[in-house]
């Protein structure tokens, strides 16, 4: 893959960005579909119970209360998913914007959770103790985190844990995306695009394998225009 030319770089960023956006929205649409399905069937159950009551099969108040709680719970679940998706969608509004890194990492981790759940892998976050504000391309930062998680998920097994932690750094932030235990076959990795992406946002990406864990160390500095460094 020749990524030296500026045109190639822009094309790769655009194509991979769209693929990332598509992967997230497809996953969220499945989640929302599940929520709608539950509300749909719960509403249908309420109809069934009321129809039964009209034919002399009484419905207990507690049962109705549980159904109301179930619907409220699913609505809350849906609100959470939509909130994360909305924040994600607005991350493409500006090439460079100010964001709080703990929130950004929390948001993309939530949106990636379904990918981990399907493999029964635990996905956790360790935010920094205090809020850390950064100026950079928030969409690309999320994409880098997502791609690191995706690479680790490819070799992860049931009950493994992937943790995304945030550390403050003088020049920006350090994100550690760690999989335990270490199962990653480094020969299978394709880091070309991750390196291009992190290079574009002025950062670096390193992979460490040892001590029972494999770790992507992603350095994200404050934004410097790659075309006018």
């Amino acid at each position: 893959m020749n990524i030296d030319k500026e045109g190639d770089r822009e094309r790769l960023l655009r194509e991979n960005g769209l693929a990332f956006f598509g992967a997230i929205t497809a996953s969220v649409s499945h989640e929302l579909n599940n929520i709608i399905s539950i509300i749909d069937q719960t509403g249908g159950l309420l109809d069934d119970l009321l129809a039964g009551a009209r034919h002399g099969r009484p419905v207990e108040n507690e049962r109705l209360q549980r159904i109301a709680e179930s619907i409220a719970c699913q609505v809350k679940r849906g609100e959470g998913v939509i909130g994360h998706l909305n924040t994600f969608a607005h991350s493409v509004d500006h090439q460079v914007q100010e964001f709080e890194i703990n929130q950004l990492v929390g948001n993309i981790t939530e949106l990636t959770r379904r990918f981990a759940s399907l493999k029964r892998v635990h996905l956790e976050t360790q935010p920094f103790d205090t809020p850390v504000t950064l100026q950079n391309n928030s969409f690309l930062v999320q994409q880098a985190v997502f791609l690191c998680i995706k690479q680790l998920l490819a070799s992860a097994e049931r009950e493994d844990t992937i943790t995304v932690s945030v550390e403050d750094d003088r020049s920006g932030v350090r994100l550690l995306i760690k999989a335990e235990p270490s199962r990653l076959k480094t020969d299978d990795l394709d880091l070309h695009y991750l390196e291009l992406l992190t290079g574009y946002i002025g950062g670096t990406i390193e992979l460490r394998d040892g001590s029972g864990a494999v770790v992507f160390e992603l350095m994200v500095p404050h934004w410097r225009d790659p075309d006018n460094p």
Binding site: S29, H30, N33, N34, I36, S37, I38, D40, Q41, T42, G44, L45, D48, G52, S70, Q74, S117, L118, K119, R120, R158
Partner: protein, 122 residues
């Protein structure tokens, strides 16, 4: 048509438990399993005439589970549940071994029709 038993497999417990209850009100006996291992255990323990399973489940996927079910219980028809549209959105092709598919959100009356058709074919 003779009475039949259906096994519904999906990791969304509120969804499958509600479907089982609603099928019960319509005279159809059903049970549910939340994952592939649970489904295989229930299939071995009890006699089911048809299985309905979600394609996207944690751990063993619906597709993997169907392969095992068809090897162990070749006469039991399998209906697939897809997240959106046809299974070709999620798989390269509609699995030959599946009797048919349903897209979420499931319409209960459509499910009952497909269950009856599947049992009749089995």
């Amino acid at each position: 048509m003779h009475k039949f038993r259906a096994l519904l497999v999906d990791d969304e417990e509120e969804l499958v438990s509600t479907l089982v209850e609603r099928l019960g009100y319509r005279g159809i006996k059903a049970d549910y399993a939340l994952n592939g291992a649970d489904a295989l255990r229930k299939m071995c323990d009890g006699s089911f005439d048809v299985v309905v399973l979600d394609l996207k489940m944690p751990g063993m996927s619906g597709f993997e589970l169907m392969e095992i079910l068809k090897a162990k219980f070749p006469d039991v028809p399998v209906l697939l549940i897809t997240g959106h549209g046809s299974p070709t959105d999620e798989l390269d092709e509609i699995p030959e071994k599946a009797y048919d598919y349903l897209a979420k959100p499931i319409n209960l009356e459509d499910l009952i029709i497909k269950l009856r058709e599947a049992v009749k074919s089995g």
